[in-house]
């Protein structure tokens, strides 16, 4: 008995207190184990390759080709001029504004939900958010047209009350209108993303800061906000890309009257405007891919920082 204890002690001292190494015969073979672990991801990787990587490469390659198949930069040249440049600017402005508003409202809503001790409220908000975050397209556009459109119910009520918002510069069929409509799915998405990091803020941190003399405001200034900043930034990036890529809602609501990249792209691909301009469409697509890639890398960087702190 005594000797076995000694053996254990010496093993621990050799490994710096870590558990002693397993006998050679029982040691897992690392290479084989890794190979086995990875096999489950093969279908997903095949799917990604077929429907994301290959199409993306194809888009980028054809963006550099003329209609005759020769190398050219003219597609990109055209994509950054005129209506196409305007569509990039509009899309970025719209996505940025929509994501900012949704981030602010979503964070406040998430804080309120997390502060609630009512489990039913929390469950309702979580499941409701999951549904609303995935709602969009024609039904969403129609519901807004029916309520705050030119002849919508709320517009009618306001007009009857002597205030027609359309006489005061508001239009549902504008960038501002789209920003408002996008909130319908962006705010719930923000709530869904932010509840886990807010819940990861430990009560011990609040208690520790109180016992060290900090007020609640000081806790938020030095601990709460710095801890939530990376997840908020990461969520903002997700919201930005979500709004940037939204097509159906914008198309249904504005019928292409506002130049946005996805709408221009859709028009070029379907040949609605001019036939034979799919290569220009690919250049626009490549531009979108570049913006989403930048956002993706930023997201990964910020998320890595957040995961170190809040786990």
């Amino acid at each position: 008995m005594a000797s076995s204890t000694n053996v254990e002690d010496s093993a621990q001292s050799r490994t710096g207190g870590a558990s002693p190494p397993s006998p050679a015969g029982l040691r897992p073979k690392r290479g084989r184990r890794r190979w086995h672990n990875g096999i489950g991801t093969v279908p997903f990787l095949v799917y990604l390759g077929l429907f994301l990587v290959i199409p993306a490469i194809s888009v980028v390659v054809t963006a550099f080709q003329s209609g005759a198949g020769t190398f050219t930069l003219s597609n990109f040249n055209e994509a950054v001029h005129g209506v196409y440049l305007k569509s990039f600017i509009n899309s970025i402005q719209l996505s940025f504004a929509a994501a900012i508003v949704a981030t602010v409202v979503g964070v406040l809503a998430s804080l309120a939900v997390c502060a609630s001790s009512n489990r039913i409220v929390r469950a309702l908000v979580s499941s409701g958010s999951a549904v609303f975050a995935n709602t969009g397209g024609v039904p969403l556009a129609f519901s807004f047209i029916a309520t705050v459109g030119n002849f919508g119910v709320i517009t009618k009520l306001l007009t009857d009350a002597g205030f027609n918002p359309y006489d005061h510069g508001f239009s549902l069929y504008s960038v501002l209108g789209l920003t408002i409509v996008y909130q319908y799915f962006l705010i719930p998405l923000m709530v869904l993303i932010m509840i886990p990091p807010i819940e990861a803020l430990r009560k011990e941190w609040v208690d520790a800061s109180s016992s060290l003399g900090a007020t609640r405001a000081q806790f938020w200034r030095w601990v709460g906000i710095p801890l939530l900043a990376p997840p908020i930034l990461a969520a903002f990036i997700v919201l930005f890309t979500d709004a940037f890529a939204a097509y159906a809602t914008a198309e249904a609501l504005t019928s292409g009257t506002i130049a946005l990249v996805p709408i221009q792209l859709g028009a070029l691909i379907s040949g609605n405007v001019l036939a034979g301009q799919t290569n220009l469409g690919d250049a626009l697509g490549a531009g979108m891919i570049a913006i989403v890639l930048v956002a993706g890398f930023l997201y990964a960087y910020v998320q890595r920082k957040a995961s170190k702190w809040l786990r």
Partner: protein
């Protein structure tokens, strides 16, 4: 604040204050977490609140820290009534169970947090944090973030952070429970060393009786929101006033017996054991229940012995032996490792009382 900025060479040394908890009550709906609890700590004393989960020990500590709203009672620190003061104005240092370091700050920044809140200058903060990191032996790790520190190192930093504000009282809420045994023992000794060095009045919450016995000046054993017994570790262990304390602090054998004289009880299958009759005098012939520590029993190998060895557990310096007899009675005896080697699996054994029974009560 004046105290916090004073960083002369003896700045860590201070005299502790007296702490009085008077009639503390706390109810969660109809359940009493604290039932009019009274407790006084002398200046510089280390009191361990010991008890099972849900006994109210953490509630009492949090009430003292100002993190728990009380339904009744008064908290006095020194001569000051702090019952209505918020936690941020009580000048109490607190170390939590685990994960309480701010993850976005380095060890140094964590230690300096309380001073930053008090608007202490940057140079003073650096000086103080350097002193404290040195005190806990973590100067080389000053610039590491909590996730880069081991559990034991994190708790040391949490201790330094609590001490940085020069608190009048130090509270430790199961600070060692998330650590492995070896680190736990090391840090336990270190906490005691630092506490004695600083002379700070300290309350330590634990459910680990070994930790309580090793650390405390006095142990308050709690049960269902009340203090069952408060005394020195030796007294709590050797003279428990209730069955609960006897069973919670240390191991006991519960045996049947009959009082045979003023200070002797005859225990079934064992024989005569002495007991302290001062507090619990019984008439001769009274049937009683006798609580005896495993180390208070001795073993003899004899041909007439009725006890047999069931199993042995090696505990290092001692060995725990589980014995049984033909009537199915079971006892646990603890012997030194040397003595225990003589006991074989098929030995016929007799038991006898080596020292006083712990507690004798009417059956």
């Amino acid at each position: 604040m004046t105290q916090a900025t004073n960083t002369d060479s003896n700045s860590n040394i201070r005299n502790g204050v007296k702490v009085d908890l008077i009639g503390l009550s706390r109810y969660y709906k109809d359940v009493a977490a604290l039932k009019s609890m009274n407790l006084s700590a002398s200046p510089g004393e280390l009191i361990v609140l010991l008890g099972p989960s849900g006994c109210g020990k953490t509630t009492a500590l949090r009430a003292l820290a100002g993190l728990e709203v009380l339904d009744g009672g008064t908290v006095m620190i020194g001569s000051k009534d702090v019952t209505r003061l918020p936690a941020s104005r009580r000048n109490i240092g607190m170390v939590f169970q685990s994960y309480s370091l701010f993850p976005n700050m380095t060890a140094k920044a964590n230690v300096e947090f309380g001073l930053k809140v008090r608007k202490v200058s940057s140079s003073e903060r650096s000086k103080r944090s350097a002193e404290l990191l040195d005190l806990i032996g973590l100067s080389p790790q000053a610039d590491r973030y909590p996730h880069q520190l081991s559990g034991g190192q994190q708790q040391r930093v949490a201790l330094a952070r609590a001490l940085a504000i020069k608190p009048e009282v130090l509270l430790l809420d199961e600070p060692l429970s998330a650590l492995d045994a070896k680190v736990r023992a090391q840090l336990r000794d270190e906490i005691r060393r630092i506490q004695l060095e600083l002379g700070i009045t300290t309350f330590f919450v634990t459910h680990d009786q070994e930790e309580a016995l090793a650390l405390a000046d006095r142990i308050a054993v709690m049960r269902a929101g009340e203090i069952e017994q408060i005394d020195t570790p030796l007294s709590v262990y050797s003279q428990p006033t209730t069955e609960f304390v006897a069973e919670f602090v240390g191991k006991v054998n519960r045996l049947s017996g009959v009082i045979v004289s003023q200070d002797k009880v005859n225990v079934e299958s064992i024989g005569s054991i002495s007991y302290d009759s001062k507090n619990t005098p019984f008439q001769t012939g009274t049937n009683v229940q006798v609580l005896v520590r495993p180390e208070a029993l001795g073993i003899m190998i004899s041909d007439t012995g009725q006890w047999r060895l069931v199993s042995k557990s090696f505990l290092g310096a001692s060995v725990k032996l589980n014995l049984t007899n033909p009537t199915g009675q079971k006892v646990v005896v603890e012997l030194t490792t040397g003595e225990a080697t003589l006991i074989e699996q098929d030995s016929q054994l007799s038991l006898f009382g080596k020292s006083d029974a712990l507690l004798v009560q009417r059956a």
